[in-house]
Symmetry: C2
Subunit: 331 residues, 2 copies
């Protein structure tokens, strides 16, 4: 099969190529695409250098699968083009996620939604995926009623320039030098910015709404109650999440742990007395969603609390997108 | 009046001296005390160098006020000694907080509890103080039913060695060098450790229980429902908290903001479109508790969400302790 990758020079695009190399998909050819700025750069696939082309309709000719990770603007424009040329598009941007015609899929959770796709499948928000990967196996057993999530999100989700900014800002801080951020509105080094995406009139951020609305759509629970605060923290990769959840039935934490251990794509790391719990530095580069600090919630009826870490570029983006493609083409 | 300061060479002790200098207390003499290791060091009070004595009973002779910040061990041993010599002890450790005979006080919230003290008053946990400073003015109006807090806690709460460790570990990481932590069980640089204090059998940490139990005691609400996850983050000073709260009555966010603005010790910093929200780098060294991101909660009945930042060494420790003393001696 022929696979186009839009945004191939970005952080997520790079991981898409790596994950494709090891996937079950019978990839014959990869066509890396990018902006005018990226065109002419080279990416590596299976040890070979391939030139990046500027995104144009002709490059979707005879493409079976198009993986998009170039932001909402390019996705709004090019997803319909690629789909009309016969490709199935798995789009990592937020542009199509809430379109009722577009399935929004985590393959371990709602693969049945794929049956209705019309050439476009949306990849959910990174912070949403890792929350639901741990809540869903519990939901099946206990019936989810409510959850709150506070996120601790790394800079890699913003892109390569943000990674460089955290590094440069941290060096400046440690040397006692001034630093003027250009990617983030405030200096992120040794700091916390409760600011991911623009704010609505009520002061709720776009990232917060994504977690609320996408969770409802993926779980087919339009009335699910979700509280969210999303925060950028000075880590390079992986997002952390503090989750408190309330269920219809009483939760046995030991059984919950077994349900999480048995769920594909989740790894339990939970021996806090031995200082074993998920951390971003441990989770970087791993495909699994790591969960620990599994414990009774002190405040919620039938409650369970946990701490979840996942590489936002992998299960939160590139890996989930390729898994969607595998479910479609090699399922 | 004569004031003994136990732990005078520590981070909190240093701030106690600075705050005492500007306080309404008629301080005639400060007697700085410390461990054998600290004895002989010198601290500054009102521009004068004063020698630190090793803590011994005779140094509490004719002491009116003793401010303790040397950890639970020394507090368990020396608080009764100082109190029996006639001093009023304001203890910043957790040793006496849950003793039913000991008031646990945030002067803006429950000064009436001071009436029953028997020579010992406990200063609450830093993360508890800043949560309640913002929840209490709302509780008076709407009736608090439940809150969840996820904390983003700086290393300064652990002490001077932790501050040095974050600095050294960050430098090592940026240089690509290995680092072996000695203060924290894991490397805190560019990382997240959901581990503050030891864990109970259920896997709930001591810091998490402090927030639950101390909130109930301070607010006189023994059945208050509280969900907490406490996390150490790579910031030098100030704790951040993502709070979602549910009340008995519907909350008007604009009115809530006015209630917060009117409450002494709280400063509203809340214009997220202009990237104005509390951050730890802004809050360092400030006595006020900063609150922003005040918004409807998307998941809770009669809910309000907010983001709270406070210098854990000041309102979370030294400042609140001196304010307790002011309420007792200069009220």
């Amino acid at each position: 099969m022929r696979v186009a990758v839009l945004g191939a020079t970005g952080l997520v695009g790079g991981w898409m190529l790596r994950v494709l190399e090891g996937s079950r998909l019978p990839v014959e050819r990869v066509i890396p695409l990018g902006s005018e700025r990226s065109a002419g750069k080279r990416v590596i696939f299976r040890g070979e250098e391939i030139e990046v082309f500027p995104v144009e309709e002709r490059h979707f000719h005879r493409v079976d699968l198009a993986l998009f990770s170039a932001g909402s603007g390019p996705s709004k424009r090019w997803v319909p083009v690629a789909a009309s040329r016969g490709a199935v598009v798995v789009d990592n941007s937020s542009a199509w996620r809430m379109d009722p015609q577009v399935p929004l899929v985590v393959p371990e959770i709602n693969p049945h939604h794929l049956g209705n796709h019309r050439g476009i499948v949306a990849n959910p928000n990174c912070a949403t995926i890792q929350a639901l990967m741990t809540l869903y196996p519990l939901h099946r057993r206990y019936g989810l009623r409510y959850f709150s999530a506070a996120t601790y999100q790394s800079v890699s989700g913003t892109g390569k320039r943000a990674v460089e900014e955290l590094r440069a800002a941290s060096q400046a801080f440690l040397r006692g030098e001034d630093f003027s951020p250009s990617v983030y509105p405030r200096d992120v080094a040794f700091n916390l910015l409760p600011h991911i995406g623009p704010f609505d009139r009520d002061g709720i951020s776009e990232e917060e709404w994504k977690m609320v609305r996408e969770s409802r759509k993926i779980l087919d629970m339009e009335d699910l109650r979700v509280s969210v605060t999303t925060v950028r923290v000075p880590t390079f990769s992986c997002h952390g999440e503090a989750i408190s959840a309330s269920f219809q039935e009483p939760v046995n934490p030991r059984e919950a742990r077994e349900l999480l251990e048995a769920f594909p794509g989740v790894r339990v790391v939970d021996d806090p007395d031995a200082a074993l719990y998920p951390t971003p530095r441990d989770g970087a580069g791993l495909g699994d969603v790591l969960v620990g600090r599994i414990r009774p919630d002190t405040g919620l009826e039938n409650g369970l609390a946990m701490w979840v870490v996942s590489d936002n570029l992998l299960k939160g983006a590139a890996l989930n997108a390729v898994q969607i493609a595998e479910a479609l083409f090699a399922g």
